[in-house]
């Protein structure tokens, strides 16, 4: 092969590989992203059984209950809606009632939300960003008062 043919072969191989990668990315983006919901969203646009979502909000005061087999039940609220979450496992150290939380999981056929992940996802105000943005929009939570400079 001369120089030109070799270069062409390399370019063809490269373009082919990139095309495969682009197809994979498009396929994966259409299948495997999870949307973020707050409890009140679920009334407007219900989520189908088995669809993986992220659910965020505040852990309702006094809602944490422990069941057998290290199962935990707690309620996630955003002021206008609530969802009861079931989770089997150890909760993060900074999981508290009244603080923000983000969970990942699915609804089962009976409308119960089974979380497989509870994230300690927060900034220095102990509030996850998505939750903080929405709570501020809805006027439920103002955030820590701005520090004077």
């Amino acid at each position: 092969m001369n120089r030109k043919q070799k270069r062409l072969a390399v370019i063809a191989g490269g373009v082919g590989f990139i095309a495969v990668a682009v197809l994979l990315v498009m396929f994966a983006l259409s299948r495997s992203v999870s949307y973020f919901y707050m409890p009140s969203d679920l009334a407007d646009k219900p989520v189908g059984e088995g669809t993986r979502i992220r659910l965020g909000g505040l852990v309702e005061e006094g809602s944490i209950r422990r069941a057998e087999n290290s199962n935990v039940l707690f309620t996630v609220t955003d002021g206008s809606g609530t969802v009861e979450v079931r989770y089997a496992g150890i909760l993060p150290d900074l999981f508290r009632e009244g603080q923000g939380v983000v969970t990942e999981g699915r609804f089962d056929g009976n409308g119960a939300f089974h979380a497989d992940t509870v994230l300690a996802k927060h900034d220095e105000n102990y509030m996850p960003k998505e939750v903080a943005d929405r709570l501020k929009e809805d006027g439920v939570w103002e955030g820590r008062p701005a520090r004077d400079c």
């Binding site: 490269g14 990668a21 400079c149």
Partner: protein, 417 residues
């Protein structure tokens, strides 16, 4: 008074950085050895000033001087000494100071260990390093001054975020920064080569040790972070494809590709232009990572103090450096002569294959990391792109690489039979 000394050193460092950027560049243009040597003394002075400033910040934290806002917000007098120390970079301002300290440390190392370099290349490299330092010094002084005072002086600090009171904070960020700031040296060498329009195998010989050093630190930093996230509940386990994890992983992937292509260039004088481009891309991804982590535009499970207003400033730095270096590349790269020939099935061919896979894989990680940001800006939908996406794309792309890895080193240079 000591605290003001820290700020004073920082302002002085800005002046020195600006001089170290301008004077050697003019020196190269006028072919004046006197002006070019300013690069070395300027770089060493710059490092000394930044180190002094960083030392003052450490001292304020260690003695719990709550008249400094940064200490008051992130420390507590009863905290163990190790957390008082690591708490220096457990916040935005301190973290940027550490970034700058490591940048100037690398510049100083280049200045000290580059006596065998051609004078003009050395001057250009140090000049570009000084330009990066100037940008970040401006950023720190204008938006993230760690030496801000608070009055009346509070009696007690607000404490460091408890999740950061961990030995991981003492070693993970410094290692990570030594890694991705270390790639700035490769970037500066690439820009210097483009400015002079000359590049040969010796260039790769000088760049490869720096790339290897940065890569080693980055690998250790990611591994350490992974271990920390593994035992910290709620951080998603050892690898979660979280945006912040991806931010450090992308320079790692590009850096790995760079190590391999620099090898081809050093041994065979091939892939020159590609190696220069990879050097630019690797550090650009480091800058992108700094932007993603520091601006808070992406939501992450890891605890970071963020302030969106500062994001604009870093975004400007990012745009100037990435845009500027790529424009320079587009303009000057055609001047660099194409290198040696090799057959597709050879050591070089295998390394090209390796580079192709690694860069495409970097592209998929970049897409997955930025997609939620783009979608939220366009439609307002909040989504998360998690492990299923990356397993389906990155995971699949790595299969041919893993299959090829055992055979690559067995091939001979130039042609393998």
């Amino acid at each position: 008074m000591t605290v003001e000394l820290g700020l004073f050193a920082l302002v002085l460092a800005l002046a020195v950085a600006a001089i170290t950027f301008v004077v050697p560049a003019v020196g190269v243009r006028r072919n004046s050895p006197q002006l070019m040597t300013v690069a070395v003394s300027g770089t060493l002075t710059l490092f000394a000033l930044v180190a002094l400033s960083f030392g003052v910040l450490i001292r304020s934290h260690l003695v719990s001087d709550f008249s400094v806002r940064n200490v008051w917000e992130n420390s507590h007098s009863m905290m163990p000494l190790v957390y008082k120390f690591s708490g220096v970079w457990g916040n935005h301002e301190g973290s940027m100071m550490l970034w700058l300290l490591i940048l100037t440390l690398f510049s100083a190392l280049v200045a000290a260990f580059s006596r065998n370099l051609p004078n003009d290349l050395r001057a250009n490299v140090l000049s570009v390093q000084a330009l990066i330092a100037t940008a970040f010094l401006l950023f720190i002084i204008l938006t993230s001054n760690p030496f801000m005072r608070v009055f009346p002086v509070p009696g007690e600090g607000q404490d460091l975020n408890p999740i950061l009171q961990d030995f991981g904070l003492a070693i993970h960020p410094p290692l990570l920064y030594l890694g991705y700031v270390g790639f700035s040296v490769c970037f500066s060498f690439a820009v210097a080569a483009l400015i002079s329009g000359r590049i040969d195998a010796a260039w790769a010989l000088w760049v490869r040790p720096w790339a290897l050093l940065a890569w080693l630190f980055l690998t250790a930093g990611i591994a350490m972070g992974s271990y920390w996230a593994y035992y910290e509940l709620g951080w998603g386990g050892w690898w979660f494809w979280d945006p912040v994890e991806n931010a450090s992983f992308m320079p790692w992937l590009a850096g790995t590709a760079l190590l391999h292509s620099a090898l081809v260039m050093e041994k065979r004088e091939a892939l020159k232009i590609w190696t220069v481009l990879l050097s630019i891309l690797t550090f650009s991804l480091s800058l992108l990572g700094t932007f993603l982590v520091r601006s808070g535009v992406l939501t992450s499970v890891h605890a970071f103090a963020t302030d969106p207003t500062r994001g604009i400033f870093i975004l400007t730095i990012l745009a100037l450096f990435v845009g500027g270096s790529l424009a320079l590349f587009a303009w000057r790269a055609p001047l660099l002569r194409a290198g040696g020939l090799f057959s597709p099935i050879s050591r070089e061919g295998a390394l090209v294959f390796n580079n192709l896979i690694l860069t495409v894989a970097t592209g998929t990680v970049l897409t997955g990391t930025l997609y939620p940001l783009v979608l939220e800006t366009l439609t307002g939908d909040k989504i998360s792109v998690g492990p299923p996406f990356f397993n389906m794309t990155f995971g699949v792309l790595m299969i041919p690489l893993l299959l090829a890895v055992p055979f690559g080193p067995m091939l001979s240079w130039k042609r393998g039979t």
